[in-house]
């Protein structure tokens, strides 16, 4: 007998249907050891035998483990007979609880370093470590001490075990939890996620509905599978009344990217938006809006797009709050979104849709027409109020604006057109419809509310209309063009109207441009008349610099440019902070009325300038 083998017989693990064709294609083997006889090639009997070994005292190959099937054992030539269990129980009471006692709940997984199974062999949730022929699956209902049903444990000393132990030791930080979640809890994503634990879900919803957020969250922690949307709806709704924004956001985030975007739902986001509004958190309002719009990944890849109706509701919830609090920039973003997606008439469509639904139930034909939309009662009411709104707008204009406005306030028929023309980039009717409800109060209902409606609407129109904002801007002062003077870098020769009288050139043609730095001062430069003195003949001409303001305030000038420029002579010796001088002067010129003294000084300076202008001809 020249052949000594450990195992008498093995078995192929591949299916016959596969091997009968596959063997015609040579498979490269390990060069130095072409023939492999691994764990999966063991026969069932051999495997069962091998599996009891290598586990110190607990394996069933050990006679004292209690699981041994041997009848007797020889110890130093003494044959010891096994005491059967029923006899043992006479003096050692049996307190076995069955296979359930070997499995701890999922909530303890992280406390137990990722394990649920308390077997003496490590049970990995990975497919490969415990794999025999098929990927390893841990059956939590049938864990037995022998582990000879599916052989998934990590046996410490058996055939083929070394690489598996290495793999186990090289595992990642969330190896067990991750594999458990992916392979056991939610293997197929949201579509195939199991919704057991119905009573637990109901309890969470019930508690949250009562407003017991903390209790609901405690129950939420016990959930092991992917909860349905209702849970998130209830939890976020419970956050609204007290504005628990942080809680609402983390509840949403928990169900969003982690749990297959379950929480990415219109109602959940609406609750979130309401919470952000209650908490008066402007950036979070924008964040919810942004989340609602989603990216390609959520909208097209995951297909968790928010229903357009909900998109409208969420946006409007944010938009009204932003407008009420005067956040023009953000409000314009939200409004632009509505406009871009043609959602401005969504409220009309919903109202019409309700009517259509009733018609369908009554068996009447339905259709969606522009006429049908504009015939709705809301539209009629809004159009009736347009004239009043126009006068409200005009009043508000008069209160702070001195400019002339069109005096057509007597007529009613053109009111809407007038408004539409004035706020050209905003749909006035849509804004009026939006402004109608404040919370749940209908502002059309009572006259005192109507006042509120008009002021509200006016404000909103001013906030939303960018074109209006541009034309409404306060008149600013005009900065002078200037050119550098020879003597001092910080002193620049500014354009003043006297120069225009003389030259007829434009400032740019005289080499002047806009330049202003922190220390810059603007002057009007003249030179003393050259007399017949030695000093004027041999010494340099000393320029006379008269300081002028950096900017001209045209609003303070009367209609024509006859009057002298608004400039103040500021002598360096006159005191005052020299750093803030220049622009402070400019703004002071805007606000404070010019005094007589100023005018005198100006006129003096002008006289000097005219008389002392050097002539180079």
């Amino acid at each position: 007998m020249s052949v000594i083998s450990v195992f008498a017989k093995g078995r192929g693990h591949a299916h016959e249907k596969v091997t009968n064709v596959g063997r015609y294609i040579p498979r490269a083997r390990t060069p130095f050891q072409p023939s492999t006889f691994g764990r999966k090639n063991l026969t069932k009997e051999d495997l069962a035998q091998v599996w009891g070994r290598g586990r110190y005292r607990t394996g069933y190959a050990n006679a004292n483990s209690g699981y041994s099937t041997e009848k007797s054992k020889v110890m130093d030539d003494n044959t010891v007979t096994m005491i059967p269990k029923h006899e043992l129980e006479k003096y050692m009471p049996d307190i076995s609880l069955g296979p359930k006692s070997l499995v701890t709940p999922i909530s303890l997984m992280s406390a137990r370093n990722g394990h649920r199974v308390t077997h003496d062999m490590i049970h990995s949730y990975d497919a490969h470590i415990g794999a025999l022929e098929k990927p390893a699956v841990v059956d939590h209902n049938n864990i037995i001490a022998q582990d000879n049903i599916n052989f998934v444990g990590l046996n410490a000393a058996t055939l083929d075990c070394r690489g598996r132990i290495y793999r186990w030791l090289r595992r990642g930080p969330f190896f067990q939890e991750d594999q458990y979640f992916r392979r056991y809890v939610a293997p197929g994503g949201l579509e195939k996620a199991p919704t057991q634990e119905v009573s637990l879900f109901k309890r969470v919803v019930r508690l949250a509905g009562k407003g017991r957020l903390k209790g609901a969250c405690e129950e939420y922690r016990k959930i092991t599978t992917v909860p349905p949307v209702e849970v998130y709806r209830a939890l976020t709704a419970a956050c609204i009344p007290h504005g628990n924004l942080g809680d609402a956001i983390s509840v949403f985030e928990d169900g969003n990217a982690k749990l297959f975007y379950v929480a990415r739902d219109g109602e959940v986001l609406h609750n979130l938006m309401s919470t952000a509004v209650t908490a008066k958190n402007r950036p979070r309002v924008m964040w919810v809006f942004n989340v609602m719009r989603g990216r390609y990944h959520e909208n097209k890849f995951i297909r968790a797009e928010i229903d357009p109706l909900w998109q409208y509701r969420i946006t409007v919830r944010g938009l009204t709050w932003l407008l009420d609090n005067g956040c023009a920039e953000e409000a314009r973003v939200l409004y632009a979104f509505l406009e871009e997606n043609k959602m401005l008439d969504n409220d009309l469509q919903v109202r019409l849709g309700q009517q259509m639904k009733d018609a369908l139930a009554a068996g009447k034909p339905i259709s969606l027409t522009a006429q049908g939309l504009s015939d709705l009662a809301v539209m009629k009411a809004v159009r009736a109020l347009a004239a009043n709104l126009r006068s409200a707008v005009q009043e508000s204009q008069e209160s702070f604006e001195t400019a002339l406005h069109e005096s057509n306030s007597g007529r009613d028929d053109g009111a809407l057109e007038w408004l539409q023309q004035k706020f050209g980039d905003v749909d006035v009717l849509a804004v009026m419809r939006l402004a109608r409800y404040r919370g749940r109060r209908d502002l059309f209902a009572k006259p005192e509310d109507q006042e509120l409606f008009f002021t509200r609407c006016t404000e909103w129109l001013y906030l939303l209309s960018e074109r209006q904002a541009q034309s409404e801007g306060k008149p600013l002062t005009y900065m002078r063009k200037s050119k550098p003077s020879a003597v001092n870098e910080n002193v620049r020769i500014a354009w003043v109207p006297e120069l225009q009288k003389k030259t007829r050139l434009l400032p740019s043609e005289m080499g002047m441009g806009f330049s202003y730095k922190n220390g810059t001062r603007f002057v009007h430069e003249t030179f003393p008349a050259a007399g017949a003195t030695l000093a004027s003949k041999f010494l340099a001409l000393q320029p006379i610099q008269t300081e002028v303001t950096a900017a001209v305030d045209f609003s303070r000038l009367s209609g024509s440019i006859v009057s002298p420029p608004v400039s103040r002579l500021i002598h360096p010796s006159a005191g005052g902070a020299s750093e803030t001088r220049t622009l402070a002067v400019a703004t002071a010129a805007v606000t404070a009325p010019a005094t007589e003294g100023d005018n005198e000084v100006n006129s003096l300076a002008d006289k000097n300038a005219v008389s002392m202008e050097p002539t180079f001809e």
Binding site: V21, A28, G189, F260, R303, G353, K357, S367
Partner: protein, 374 residues
């Protein structure tokens, strides 16, 4: 020891960075994952292209359909009956079309097409026409939905419908998602429609469908149906369009599929199975396993014919080639055309000149090879 040796950096040298590495900067690997993305929507998505007013008006009926990602348990017959009841009241055909698309999608998700075909024939066939072609083309959702339900339920109607979606017809195939291609391939494969499979494969290639991310099982169910020689040749060429990783995945999936083939009612196609395995074997990098490859190799360098030391290389080569031909190492019609420059001839000429020196006689022995000994 190793660290501080001459071939590494000694600790007395300044311990700086030798050279900056920019491995991840100049040639980035695209992100691929070994496992499928569990977040991805797995069915065929059908958009609901309906005005808000209609959505509100039809809300009770639409709620029964798959608006979100979860498949409702409404029986398809009920959805169809709803449509039949309320459709006459709808005056816009676009709305009807959008609704039919959703009903058909529900059918697809539930893997049945009962009533879907009837809906199509009754309401949309007149406008668009699968059999008698009309000029108009339907919206994308309804095409996706109807085709999905046909394919998922294994309805043979998928083929004329699909042919109408080609470039010459409605030109919808570039917009098909991968999941729809999966369903179509599976349907045609399970129906045993070989020409349909070829049609699909060809079209997928033409519209640049994402062959890499096709479901291997569906792909293989289609390939399994290919029996005829021409189609087989086509598939042979086609397989070179999939990547190396995908080829491997295909061969593995095919072994699984073949184990299950009885339970899912698939014929065993040995030829195609062999070819997929073979294709994988040639696409994978070859590992050198010499014991396997040269297991029964007998070295033929030792010829029985002994050549003496003066034999010319041409002669030896000629003999060897004859020998090899006899052994089958080279083909029988092999002709050796290369000329060999015989260096040893020149060497021997030198030897011949130096006759005063005593040289050992060169003997070539079959057993010992060349030894210096006589």
């Amino acid at each position: 020891m190793i660290q501080y040796s001459n071939y590494h950096w000694h600790y007395n040298f300044p311990q700086g960075m030798e050279a900056p590495r920019r491995v991840n900067r100049f040639k980035e690997a695209p992100f691929t994952r070994l496992k499928t993305n569990t977040h991805r929507y797995q069915g065929v998505w059908v958009d609901l292209e309906m005005a808000t007013a209609y959505r509100v008006a039809l809300a009770p009926q639409l709620e029964k359909l798959a608006l979100g990602r979860q498949v409702p348990s409404t029986p398809l017959a009920e959805a169809v009956a709803d449509f039949e009841k309320y459709a006459p009241l709808l005056e816009e055909s676009k709305v009807k079309e959008a609704w039919i698309a959703k009903v058909a999608q529900l059918g697809g998700l539930q893997r049945s097409s009962e009533g879907v075909q009837q809906l199509w024939n009754q309401h949309l066939e007149g406008q668009y026409g699968v059999t008698a072609a009309a000029a108009a083309s339907p919206s994308l959702p309804v095409v996706l939905g109807v085709l999905f339900s046909y394919a998922a339920s294994g309805n043979a109607e998928w083929k004329p419908f699909f042919q109408r979606c080609l470039k010459s017809g409605w030109n919808m195939t570039p917009h098909f998602p991968v999941s729809l291609w999966n369903e179509l391939l599976q349907a045609s494969g399970m129906l045993g429609d070989e020409l349909g499979v070829i049609l699909l494969l060809e079209e997928m290639l033409d519209v640049h469908a994402d062959i890499e991310h096709l479901d291997s099982m569906c792909f293989l169910k289609a390939l399994n149906a290919v029996e005829g020689q021409e189609s087989y040749n086509y598939v042979k060429k086609y397989l070179f369009h999939v990547s190396e990783a995908k080829a491997k995945q295909l061969s593995r999936a095919y072994t699984t599929l073949r184990k299950q083939s009885e339970s899912i009612g698939l014929k065993d196609n040995d030829k195609m199975f062999y070819h997929v395995l073979w294709h994988n074997s040639i696409r994978q990098p070859q590992s050198f396993s010499p014991r396997q490859q040269y297991f029964d190799y007998t070295p033929s360098a030792n010829l029985n014919v002994a050549h003496n030391s003066n034999a010319k290389i041409e002669t030896i080569l000629k003999d060897k080639i004859e020998r090899w031909k006899a052994e089958g190492v080279v083909p029988a019609d092999y002709e050796h055309t290369d000329k060999v420059y015989d260096k040893s001839a020149a060497y021997k000429n030198i030897i011949r000149k130096e006759k005063w020196k005593k040289w050992p006689k060169i003997v070539k022995d079959a057993r010992h090879g060349y030894t210096g000994d006589p």
